[in-house]
Structure formats: C-alpha cells, structure tokens
Symmetry: C2
Subunit: 418 residues, 2 copies
C-alpha cells in the first residue's frame, strides 16, 4: 500500500450523539433534495424533528454552503412568509468513472444529480489497467480545468469495472483472458491515485443506479435493469438498494437457459439466452441477409427503415428476452424493468414483443410490471453517471462530512426558484 490514505467511506452512523447529528443532517439534506424548496417548519414536520433543531442544523448547513435560502414561492397558505430552503447543488461534486473494454468514461455530477461535465475516450482493447487509469485521470483533469472546478469539492468517486467485484477490496474476481483488471486491488489503486473515497462497482450495476436516479427508473424501489449488448446482464435494485450477491457476481442474465435441449454454450449450459439474443447471434442471423460486414448499427438502421428480416430478428430477441424476464418477474416481482444496452436502441420493434411475452408468460400479479427503454444509454456514458449517483446515493453523509467549513462555495444561481 503506497501510503496511508484511507480509502474507506466513513461509516454511516451509530451510537453516539455526534452520529445522531450527522444522521439528522443527512436526513434533512435528503429531504431537501427530494422535496424541493421547503421552509424550515415544513422540513421539521417531514423529518419529525422540532423546528428548533431544524433551524440549528440548517444554520450549520448554510454556513457550509450546502443549503441556501431563497425567498421563493412557497406553497400559498396563510401565516408568516416562508424562507424557503434549497440545497445548493454546487456545494459538492461527485465523480463517476466507467471502464468498459474499449472506452473510458468520466462524469461529474452535482448534489442534485445534475450533470456538470462528462467526457469519454476510446482506448485500445489491449491497454493495461494502469494506463487506463492514466487516461481517466487526464480526462478528469481536463474536465476540472475546463469547468473551473475546485478539486477539494469532490466528495467521492464511484467507479465501474467489468465483471464481478469483490466488495471490500474492489478486486475484479475473474481471470478471463483480455481482462485488464483481474486481481488488481482497484479500490486501493484508485484511492491512491484520486485521493478520494472510492466505491468500486460492476458497470452494469452502475448503469442500473444511473437509471434509478436520473433515468427511467426514478423512484422505483424494485427495479430490474437489463443491458442487451454482446452479453446480457442485469443490474438489480431491490428494496431500494443495489444488490450485489454473495461475492459481487449477481446479475448474469445471458446464461439463463431457455431450452434444456438447446445448443451447447461455452459456459457449459445449453440453450442460453445470449445464444439467441446476444449481438453475435443477431449478426450471425442477419449477415447472410445484410452482408458479412454488417454491424449492429446496420441492423438497427435497416430495421428502422422497415427491413422485415431485421425487424423479425429484433422481435425475436425481444420475445426471447421477454420469456426469460417473465420467469424473472415470477421470481422477483419487480415494479419496473428498464431495457438498456445497444440493442435497446431498436425501440418498440424489440420492446413490444418483449412486453407481450411478459404479459403472456408471467403470472397474473407480477405481469403488471412496467417495461421501459433506458433513458440514459446514449453513448454508454450511463455507467459513469451511475458512479457519481452511487456516491450521492449511498454516501450523502459524505457531502455533509467532507465539505469544509473554511471554504463555503458560492451559491449557484441556477436551479433556485426566483
């Protein structure tokens, strides 16, 4: 370990009086973020605290620049004028990074989950992990520079890596060939490099978090995010929290067998979904029709232009996926399913058969599930957005803890009711 920088996120709360105060600070911040501009008395009712306490805590938060007063249009009722409060979104910044096999994405969000800046860069698939970190660090430096940001205001980093993640160390626990991250102690490496508390997470799960916070899954407690690409993976938000599984390997959907008598899959099983609905399968089915060099873009374009063969194959993908999701709905009873990944760009051609399959094959109660396309998957930056959201979601206390008294940030002028 290069030096003693503590990469762990601070504990949430427990026991002492100070932790009670911290928990209440976080509670008020969360309420302010969710309920928008409210005045102190209303906040006190929402949080089940006395007005006095709310005043004290808010004064503290305001001294640190986390909350600003805006004599705004409160809900019109009688009584004294309300000094409405809003979170100052510019008070803190969350960093997200996402490393796919051929891209590096960096994203900065403010406290309100608004995008401050983002950038991506293609990298050579053979590039080593250290060099990938270099690329990301460069991108980050440039974003900070270009936007005149204060580095000290970044409160944490959420980082997406491909594959299952050993939770405490952030080690990617596969040793597939061509996987640059395997057995790297990613949590330490990133913490040293960025000098920030970091959370390492599988990138499909980060996409799920992104959709859950700023995308098509906003406010949904039990959310299933499905990424349809070369592989087919799921990100699970269960009971409002990211679900990782015992060793961080939860979410593999592509190797769900849909036919015990189906073709053999390299994974050892037979009739895996990915053999029918993965991008390689789609291309294999359509190259006789579109030509040997056809890409996913070609398929999507042709389908959009009305090519029946392409539409048919994409509909089959939807139908097959829908059957698997029907079983999944029986098991998990999600409230909403968000479909992302490259193939999701096919739109209704794929989604409609998928929905139909769920309605047809899932049991009565659970088939009421919403099925919607991802809202953020434009250019695959979703993972990085999710990384930043993860910091804000699970570590909001950080914002309260780390933003320093000595340097109150300027109140932002946007996002404040006038």
């Amino acid at each position: 370990m290069p030096d003693g920088y503590d990469r762990r996120m601070p504990r949430t709360s427990s026991g002492s009086l100070q932790s009670l105060r911290r928990a209440n600070q976080e509670r008020l911040l969360t309420l302010l973020l969710r309920k928008g501009p409210v005045h102190r008395a209303e906040l006190a009712r929402l949080a089940d605290l006395s007005r006095t306490t709310v005043s004290t805590i808010v004064a503290d938060l305001m001294a640190r620049g986390l909350v600003v007063e805006s004599r705004g249009a409160g809900p019109g009722s009688d009584g004294r004028a309300k000094e409405t409060l809003v979170v100052n979104p510019a008070a803190a910044v969350a960093l997200g990074m996402d490393f796919t096999f051929d891209h590096v994405w960096v994203h900065l969000s403010d406290l309100g989950h608004n995008e401050i800046a983002g950038a991506g860069q293609a990298v050579d698939v053979d590039l080593g992990w250290a060099e990938r970190i270099d690329v990301a660090a460069d991108l980050l430096d440039r974003l900070i520079e270009a936007n005149g940001l204060d580095r000290a205001r970044i409160v944490g980093a959420g980082i997406g890596l491909p594959g299952p993640i050993e939770k405490s160390t952030g080690i990617v626990s596969t040793s597939l060939p061509g996987q640059p991250w395997s057995h790297v102690h990613a949590a330490d490496e990133f913490a040293q490099r960025l000098r920030l508390p970091v959370a390492i997470e599988n990138n499909t799960r980060l996409e799920a978090v992104a959709e859950s916070y700023s995308g098509a899954g906003r406010g949904v407690r039990d959310l299933l995010y499905v990424g349809l690409s070369s592989g087919i993976a799921a990100g699970l938000i269960l009971d409002g929290r990211v679900f990782r599984g015992a060793v961080g390997a939860a979410g593999e959907l592509g190797h769900t067998s849909v036919n015990v008598d189906g073709p053999a899959c390299p994974c050892g099983n037979r009739g895996c979904l990915v053999l029918h609905a993965g991008i390689p399968a789609v291309l294999a089915a359509l190259r006789p029709h579109l030509g040997a060099k056809a890409t996913v873009e070609d398929v999507l374009a042709a389908a959009a232009a009305g090519d029946r063969a392409c539409e048919g194959v994409l509909a089959d993908v939807g139908q097959m996926t829908g059957r698997v999701l029907a079983s999944l709905c029986n098991l998990l009873n999600p409230e909403r399913i968000v479909i992302g990944g490259e193939l999701a760009r096919a739109g209704e051609v794929l989604l409609e058969p998928l929905r139909t399959a769920i309605r047809r094959y899932a049991l009565t109660l659970v088939r009421e599930v919403d099925v919607v396309p991802a809202a953020l998957d434009l250019g695959a930056k979703a993972g990085a957005v999710g990384g930043a959201a993860l910091v804000l979601r699970e570590r909001l206390d950080l914002a309260a803890a780390l933003v320093d008294l000595t340097d109150p940030p300027p109140a932002s002028t946007e996002g404040v009711a006038s």
Copy 2:
C-alpha cells in the same frame, strides 16, 4: 375497523434522543443474543460505545428482566473478573402462526429463538378464514395454559398465509377459488383477535426466515430457500433481509420455463419447472410403476428402499431443479441454497443431482454456492417457527419497548453458563 387497537409495529428509530437510546438498547440486545455471554467492557467495544453508557443501558435492561448477570467463565485473560451478561430468553415470547391449505400451526419462541411450545392441527380444506383463526386461537390458548405462560409477555405475532401478500394491509391478493384468505384484511383481523402487533407474510417466506434463523441458513446474508412440494416456491433473504417484491409476490419458482418448446402449462407458459418437478408430476410418472393410489410417502419410502424407478424420478427432479437454480445462481449469486418441502425428504438421491447440475450449468464464481437440505421442515411447522423468528428478527426493539417495568420476569435457569 372494530376498535382502535393499533396493529402497527412501532417505528424502528429516527431523529430524537429517545430513539437513539432505543436504537442502542436494541443494538446491545442483538449483540448479546449473537455473541453469547460477554461482559460490559467487551460489549462496549463491540457496540462502539463507552463503558459507562453500556452500564447504564444494561442496568435498565436488567431492571426489566431482559438481561441477567451470570458470573460465568469469561474468556480467560488477565484483569478483573468479568460479570458476564446474557439475555434472559424467558423475558419475552414471540408468536408465530402458519396457515396452509389444510393445517394450522402455532409456535412460541423465546428471545433466543428457542422453542417454547408448538402445536398443529389439520383442518378441513373448505374451512373459512374466520374459523381457521378460531382454531389457531384455541391452539394458542391451550399452549399458554399448558406452559403457564404470561400472555402479556408475548411481544408480537408473525403470521404466514398462502399466496402473495399486500404488505401494509396483509391482504392476500389472489382470488383463486378455494383460497379462504383472499381479500381478507388479515392484518386487522389478527390484530383485533390477538391484540398484538402482527406481521403478515407469505408462508414460504416464513419458512425461509425460519431456516435463516434457526435452521440450515443461519447467519447467511444471501439465502435462497426453495420449497419443493405440489408447487415450487422460493423464499429470498437478500442482503440479510426478507425480499418481498413490489406487490409481495416474489418467490414463484415453479413457473420458470425450462423449455420454450415444452408442454403447455395452465399458467400460460410452456415447459414450466413444476410440470417436471412438482409432486403431481412425480406421482404421474410413478403411478404406473407403484400403483394408482401411490402417495409422496410411498415414493420416498420406495426410493429409500432402493427402488430404481423412484430414485430415477427423484434424481430427475433434482437435476431439473438444479438447472433452474443454476440460472438463478447466475442472477442472484446466493451464498447458500436451502432445499425444503416434502420432496426434500428424499435426501441425497435428489440433492446430489441438484448440486451436480448447479456445478455444471452455473458460471464459475457463483457455483461455489452451498446446497443443503432444510433443517426444520419436520412436519411443516417451519412456517410458524419463521413467524416467531420474524418478530424477533425485525422487531427486536419491541422486546425492549413492550416488556413492562412493573413486572420483571423471573430469570430463566436454563441457557445460563454456570
């Protein structure tokens, strides 16, 4: 609503100083239950509280009879003698009830999840819900009488009903014919009748809770319980908590399709697992061999006696189930799978092919899952045990809150180190 009795469990904690105290009380109780006899200083370290605070809280708990001192064999180290503390298991009682289609089960557990008493009774499948409650109430009265229990010491009831449960009201939200509970406001009915805080839960989930607390899944954070009976259902413990799904319908496993081209199922799907591995399928396959009146017991007995045909069918059940569980392991990456239900009594004849299928068809990382038989399924009382465990698990604060100062229970003499 017949009268104003509040059926809701009290809120866990939040905000005020009193709730901090309650949370710390609960924390200490939980630690005492889990870590066995410890002395105050050790408890303070475990809870991250000062010795003084622990002393204060413990004194309070002792005054209420929840904790007793036992000059026991502490871990031998130097220093002053340790006044070891243990929870007085007799201080509070949790009630569990389970209603299956033809049985009523009642169970009483003490604070340490030990069985105090239990009873079951067969009922007519056509019996209405009100009469079923009568039966349960009678059983409860008799248990209380026979064991000389103090009714006031019962801190809550966990009640299992068949089918998906609407969480807040406890309404069973199916309207299948022959389902006596459909659209009954079960939470209110039981609360009125028992005059206790109640939690209504699906009975397979309660069996999962039981296994998770006192059975084969002790201490496992991500646990999959599978009940193999006429239907095939799962109870999911994810991240250490019972997972219910959006409308409380999570856990249906039997209608996972294993073969898209398989036989049609009444559910609307094709090739459902239950068509291959449910009890009706097993009997259908073996009645030509064993005779038209053969029962599950006959099949199990014959298999145990070495009947090849029966062994083969049970092995097929295991293999089929294992294939589905392999996909499920890919998706959820559980740490352990507990197999319960009537068919699980077949033992290794069924389990070994099941394990083999998982090892063969699941991906590398997730197939390290433990697969073990249920430990509690003797006589199907597991659901009631789980109901009591649910009360103790999620509502331990109740024990601290409801046990009254004025009437400290006698210290139990069992379970205390001498």
